[in-house]
Amino acid sequence: MADHAIVAEGLLKRYGDKKALNGFDLAVRTGTVHGVLGPNGAGKTTAVRALCTLLRFDAGRAEICGIDVAGQPARVRERIGLTGQYAAVDEQLSGRQNLVMFGRLLKLRPAAAKRRADELLAQFGLTEAAGRNAGQYSGGMRRRLDLAASMVIVPQVLFLDEPTTGLDPRSRNQVWDAVRSLVAEGTTVLLTTQYLEEADQLAGRISVVDTGRVVAEGTADELKAKIGGDRVEVVVRHADELAAVADIVGRVCHSVPQTDRDVRRVGTQVADRVAALTGVVRALHEAGIAVEDIGTRRPTLDEAFLQLTGHRANEEATA
């Protein structure tokens, strides 16, 4: 079996003048979960569709399980499962009919297709709604049916394009559990998301995508480390103390701290958090300022994202 289940090199996809993919690179080790994190319009869906043989790309090379995507799409299709960003189920059929149909198309015998459908319906909490038209499902139910449909037979590689967007926490956990159990069976998963938490929870490695390219790649910890070390943060009691505290923090840590007036907080990045913290505490004590809270913490993935792309995860790319 190939070392890397998914490989993409320099993928390019043009829509007129616009480059939806602009030298997209990816390498996902077999049996792992890889997160693709990016804002609206970054090119996540385009990348997934290109890798799933749905979209012909203009340049570059892609392989799934060592099989060339452009050259042998039919063989790639035998190995993949896809849950796209928009539910891909037949809305004029019942949930059960959908799953049986997909099972039959995957060459399961009628009895096996029915059995598998019932298993999946139970797993995704859809047993009660099994006989209703998928068109009458709520958004979350349709999403779960869609996920079930991509798991009718355990795929070698599963693509999930924003699988939990619009789901309530309980459904989201069901999805996460299903993904984890597939991974336990050896499936490689590529997961796109706008939720940093989701990438952090599920994915071993993460690619941060912006304007059609991967701008950073690594484990969640590596990405956090990439944007600098820990932060020292001080929350003051009164807003009028912010300036004085910012002054002290800046002097002790040799930096220009950020002030957030709304939460009365002063924070800055530091190289040595213990030295910085004790220095700030001592200086505040000497200045006679009693603060509400003080501490150090690692940056969130959200902050890492902001630093890497210049905008927040759920903001439209303006570039």
Partner: protein, 265 residues
């Protein structure tokens, strides 16, 4: 051989999918069969009573074979709309990312539409019998006539599929079909004799695929036909009624499959 068998199996699954749609949406089924019934009643009674056949015979007997073929033609709208709806839906993406024969979705559509058309034809025939239409040359020839109508429907289905894939918007398909189908029925032998039309229009009407089928089935049903003008097209209506569907299918099926493969490129 194995590939062909798998493709046939996939096509059959898609056929059943389309038939299930019909069963699960009864209101659609009612609409679907309302059109042929309406056609028979409107044309059979409203026009049927006041007009005479050029060349002699009962006008209603003359008209019904035309109504059969015309109903098939308007089926293009149902086909095109269903395909456009499908093409705009995510479910086709799923089919396309699965190891499913590329032909399956379209073959399934055309097979299901053929089965629907067979149902439709039974409705038409029953309605026809109720308004006083009959076949006069035995059940064998009558069945042959029905087969010719269905052959025309196959060709029309592939044109409809192609239309749906090119237009990709169900509403637009609906508005395109009428201006496309109406002249085809008007400039044909459905309502009147081509020789009553101005010269070039008459020739057009004689060569119209619809006219070929209608002339052929009038003959097979033993319904009053038109005294041929002696032109090649009218003398060889039976041949044309077979050739036209074959040619149209041979042209439009590959076109449709090609535009399906190009979806979302």
């Amino acid at each position: 051989m194995r590939r062909l068998r798998l493709a046939a199996a996939d096509g059959w699954i898609m056929t059943r999918r389309n038939m299930s749609h019909l069963v699960r949406t009864p209101e659609e089924m009612v609409l679907y069969f309302a059109l042929p019934i309406m056609f028979v009643l409107v044309f059979g009674y409203v026009f049927g009573s006041g007009m005479s056949v050029p060349g002699g015979g009962d006008y209603r007997e003359f008209l019904l074979p035309g109504v059969f073929a015309m109903t098939m033609l308007y089926g293009m709208g149902a086909t095109g709309t269903a395909v456009a709806v499908d093409a705009g839906r995510g479910v086709v993406d799923r089919f396309r990312s699965m190891p499913v024969a590329r032909s399956a979705l379209l073959v399934g559509r055309s097979t299901a539409d053929l089965m629907r058309a067979a149902l439709e034809m039974s409705v038409l025939v029953v309605c026809g019998l109720l308004v006083g239409w009959e076949w006069h040359r035995g059940i064998g020839r009558a069945l042959l006539a029905v087969a010719l109508v269905l052959a025309l429907r196959v060709a029309i289905t592939w044109i409809g599929i192609y239309l749906g894939l090119v237009v990709r918007n169900a509403d637009t398909v609906g508005t395109i079909v009428f201006p496309l189908a109406f002249p085809l029925t008007a400039v044909s032998n459905v309502f009147t004799a081509p020789e009553l039309m101005p010269g070039w229009l008459g020739t057009l009407a004689e060569w119209n695929p619809l006219s070929a089928t209608v002339a052929a089935i009038r003959e097979l049903f033993g319904n009053p036909g038109l005294a041929g003008t002696g032109s090649w097209a009218t003398e060889n209506a039976m041949l044309l009624a077979i050739a036209w569907p074959v040619v149209l299918t041979a042209v439009f099926a590959p076109l449709a499959i090609r535009s399906y493969q190009r979806l979302s490129r």
